[in-house]
Symmetry: C2
Subunit: 173 residues, 2 copies
DNA sequence: CTCCGTTATGTGACATGACAACAATAAGGT
DNA sequence: ACCTTATTGTTGTCATGTCACATAACGGAG
């Protein structure tokens, strides 16, 4: 092993800014959601795809694929949300192992009340500072970085991006 | 308040990719560190600035400023690291409130063993997929997004609305 | 010097999330 | 049918991180 390819000062600065942005943006959005609607970012991430599904119901497996979470994380989060009356679990017809996750009336009310202000926050903090040209550049290296990640741990997390095309709409979290 | 500025399909796709990248990159790096050196990302984040300071000592306040963490988070993490023998706490000369955080021998060994492989991972996953031009573009909007975040804590009206929301995910037009 | 607002750090309670081990069911080969 | 393997979810455990609050010491105004 030779000398590692240390970061240049410029690279170190960018890396530090990236990590700061990641932390602060995440925090700002969680706070905005909690303050304006009493939901956590995790709640919103799950309520959004559920609210977009035809009947407000998704199979556990489908929801996991949609949000790209590990199963245990999803299961824990659903347990917490079930306790708060946001979703319910039902048996899955045709597969006794499966679980259907259903949005409750309360859950739908919550996401619908939360969405406008949350979208506004995403715009203000993320898209408004971007020019259209920059957004394309951004998408380009998001794609390349995600591709680089695929090779990293071959069998670990469920891969969300490569599957179906994104539906028109909004799924923050 | 009128209709929210919902995300376009392109924006929604970029936003989803960004969140996926944030999650997967963070996870990949934590795993790389844990596997190769037994340190967590939080450990590394604190050991790095400590190891770069002249004596391997920083005042709590300086360390907090350096990494940008909340005080309580830093305090908790230092307690855990102290238990594992990575750092020690000492009194601060000249200010009885202060705490000096000192890297132990074990802590220095750990960060020095971890650094080469970690830097290599950062390169592979973050910088290698970027062209030099893209890196400058990236830095530009990192700066602008960070600036947008600064204004956030100041002005934000409490949740006055509860007005009826459009279906989350439904994009008008 | 005393009062008092500010600054510096610590703590407890709780939500979140990763990992590994488990239970149950489905699927597939022989 | 039988045995083996893969899929689906769930759970325990532990590290992390946030919030609200507690504590102590500094520093300036009177």
């Amino acid at each position: 092993m030779g000398e590692p390819r240390w970061l240049t000062p410029e690279e170190a600065a960018v890396w530090k800014k990236y990590r700061t942005l990641r932390r602060e943006l995440h925090l700002a959005q969680d706070r905005q959601l909690a303050r304006d609607s009493g939901l956590s970012g995790a709640d919103y991430a799950l309520l959004a795809p559920l609210s977009e599904s035809p009947e407000g119901v998704l199979r556990f497996r489908e929801l996991a694929l949609e949000v790209g979470w590990e199963r245990s994380r999803l299961s824990h989060q659903l347990t917490r949300m079930e306790k708060r009356g946001l979703v319910t679990r039902e048996a899955c017809p045709g597969d006794a192992r499966g679980a259907m996750i259903r949005l409750t009336r309360h859950g739908r009310d919550a996401i619908e009340a939360a969405a406008p202000q949350h979208v506004e926050a995403v715009r203000r903090l993320f898209f408004d500072p971007l020019t259209p040209g920059e957004m394309r550049v951004l998408e380009g290296f998001l794609d390349r970085m995600l591709a680089a990640l695929e090779g990293e741990s071959a069998a670990h997390p469920p891969n969300t991006s490569a599957g179906k095309a994104a539906r028109p709409g909004f799924r923050p979290g």
